[in-house]
């Protein structure tokens, strides 16, 4: 699973702390998500997608060969 969080965040000039605050997680979680070290739960994925005004599929890209 990869995601476009860093790309979308930078395009909107939002800091990691601001995004973390908006979706109610710690900044470290956003960093881990952006680095691909951690996969978001469905609830968090929904919150992040909603924050950017996109669908989950637009933000998170599922790759079949990637372990969950």
């Amino acid at each position: 699973m990869t995601n476009r969080i860093a790309e979308l965040r930078k395009a909107r000039r939002i800091s990691q702390a601001e995004l973390a605050d908006a979706v109610e997680v710690t900044r470290q979680t956003i960093i881990s998500l952006e680095n691909g070290r951690y996969n978001a739960s469905l609830l968090l994925a929904h919150k992040i997608a909603q924050y950017f005004g996109l669908t989950i599929e637009d933000v998170f890209i599922f790759e079949e060969d990637t372990p969950c």
Binding site: V25, Q28, T29
Partner: protein, 153 residues
Amino acid sequence: MLMKNVTFSKDYDNTLKLRCLWFGAMLAIGLVGFACYFFLVPQSSLGDHAKGFYLGAASGITVAAVFFLIRTLYLMSHPEAKRKARIEETDERQQKIVGGAAQFAGLFTFYAAALALFVLLPLSLHAYYALLGVLAVYTLAFVSANLWLSKKL
């Protein structure tokens, strides 16, 4: 961690209120320990180690209870601090880390205890049975929790 799990509710205000009650109960235990140390222990024939245990345990429990009680009351009266604490406590990555660490610690302890059984048997039969009892309780708790969670989830 245990206190967080026991007192966790979907409403964080309720969580904090419940936590206050738990820390209040913990404070009561500490104060009872002090009362025992000052009023009962001097008249008893307990050794210095046992007397020291009363004082140490009562002090530790009381100090911890007062600290956490003050912290919880502070969070209840400061909305921004409460919000930050709620985010940190409910952060899904953090919960996963804590769960993974607890799982590892449990497994490691179980294997270490199983290994210690072999060493203990020729040394002390009482210690062997005590450790065997702990392992039995751990296994029973694991099976019970597994069954309960299987039905719940």
